[in-house]
């Protein structure tokens, strides 16, 4: 592990909870949630996974005109026993990457549980409430989170990285919970602030964080105003969104057209 994770200092944590956020999430869910948490917790980087073992590094991806580079960092807050792991999803050697994540959590933070966050692309309107869905890796966790309105996932098929992480944690007898937020499909490549707020509200209640939502509410208002403007300007977009709002579905062609119009408008 030493070769794969660069530890800057050992945080003073006891039985911490680790919140795992992936940068590739639809609606920028992972990136936005992790930013809010890191700022609120005044968290500092205490460790970083070395990318050469887990990313192909055959050049860089350019996003919003800026060259990106895979980053996988552990943050620890000053006042709470919470670790935030913010990362790109590994491209190779996922088993070793996720094992490093768990090893670091166990040895340096004595983590007692993991919350892995993710977005599920869903055919809903951006004005609809977002359901949060849950996957537990131990049946006892269901009681622990009974107070929250979480829909239980049923799925058989290819696993997402959060399921792989939960399974590895299960093998170590470590509780892990995947929280999946619905993301409106046409906001998957931009920001879905409603989904971000749903996840942050859950974390706020779960950990008693006392988050200040005013900044997020401002972003959400701005975002909704932009989309309302687009609906006024483009009757087709308005018709598609109204169709979704009354619970009807769009054809594949209509979905593509709506996604393209929204992406072009939001930039």
């Amino acid at each position: 592990m030493k070769e794969q994770v660069n530890i800057l200092f050992s945080p003073d944590l006891k039985e911490a909870s680790m919140i795992v956020c992936w940068k590739e999430d639809p609606g920028k869910l992972g990136s936005l949630v992790s930013r809010v948490l890191i700022d609120h917790l005044k968290a500092r980087i205490f460790g970083e996974v070395n990318p050469e073992h887990f990313f192909t590094l055959g050049g860089v991806i350019v996003e919003d005109n800026v060259a990106q580079f895979p980053i996988s960092r552990f943050y620890a807050g000053e006042s709470r026993d919470i670790v935030v792991f913010e990362s790109n999803q590994p491209q190779i050697e996922r088993y070793h990457f996720l094992s490093c994540l768990l090893d670091t959590g166990e040895y340096y933070c004595q983590i007692k549980e993991i919350y892995a966050l993710g977005g599920i692309i869903t055919p809903i309107a951006h004005t609809s409430p977002r359901r949060l869905m849950v996957v537990y890796n131990q049946p006892e966790l269901r009681n622990k989170l009974r107070q929250f309105e979480l829909a239980e996932v049923n799925w058989e098929g290819p696993p997402a990285v959060n399921s792989y992480l939960s399974w590895l944690a299960q093998r170590r007898n470590m509780p892990a919970i995947s929280i999946w937020a619905e993301v409106a499909f046409y906001l998957a490549s931009s920001s879905d602030w409603t989904a971000v707020k749903s996840v942050l509200s859950f974390l706020d209640h779960r950990f008693g964080l006392g988050l200040d939502f005013s900044g997020i509410d401002r972003q959400l208002k701005l975002h909704n105003e932009q989309l309302a403007r687009l609906r006024e300007q483009n009757p087709e977009v308005d018709r598609y969104i109204r169709t979704l709002e009354v619970g009807l579905s769009l054809t594949e062609e209509e979905q593509l057209s709506l996604t393209s119009s929204v992406s072009d408008f939001l930039g």
Partner: protein
Amino acid sequence: MSIRIYQEPYLRNPDLICGWPGIGRIGILAVDYLRRAIAATEFAEIESWEFFEPRKVVIQEGLLKRLEFPENKFYYRKFDDRDILIFIGEEQPAGAGNLYGAGEKAYRLANLVLDVAEKFGCHRVYTSGAAVTQIHHLLKPRVWAVPNDSEMIAEIRDYENTVLMSDIEGRKGQGMITGLNGLLLGVARKRGIRALCLMGEIPYYLQASPWLYPAASISVLEVLTRMLQIEIDLVPLHEMAKKVNESIEEFLTNLYESNRIPPQIRAQIRDSIEKMKSIRQSTGPITEEDRRLIMEHIDELFKKGEKGDERTS
């Protein structure tokens, strides 16, 4: 990374027979058919997660039930004086550049398989795969045999329908066995274990097809069972081969009539494939250009799609 042995059978002079997926699934079909035919018992496995990506998750009512990986299992069957061990791997580990059965993981897996072979005193290891060649699908495939010890050559020459690399026109005893079938032979040689790869011939125009190619698996099993001195019923496999041949015939008929390919090229493809009914080896009237033409158009018709994970609803 470990080998899990659930029970330790006492085995006498066992041979190990290994099967992995590959072209036409010739090797794995032969080995898996043998496993069923002799009712071999599962007794060990190599844990998969360090070698392979999980391929399926099962989540029921919010609870993660299991994650499924390609399996790597060992089986045994006792006989009167010579027992059999079987290893079946559902996938070959991918190495750098996504080459299957190559790289560090494949090397480690090959060594783990041989660790079990040594533990149970195996005196010979067999692998099985495909020999891609210019053969028509209605001709009986031969078996190309490659040992890792020159002392086995004389024995191989005694078996019917079996050829050595050196006996194949134009090859001068040279060749290449890709993937774990070849790697295992090499690693076994390094460890001083005798090993032999049996490859069933498959027409090159079917190498990218989605079908099994049981005709070649039958040829492999005919040779392998003689070497192992056992008898198994191959009738169900012959029936499967007959059905696959019918599908190939139907596919080729459609190809010859496809509007997506210009008539002149269709006629050329048909001629090239039909010529192979009467020839066997690479230096015949099939040119490299014919070969390229056939592959280009057949590959296009064999293309498949992909599937997402639980993030796509």
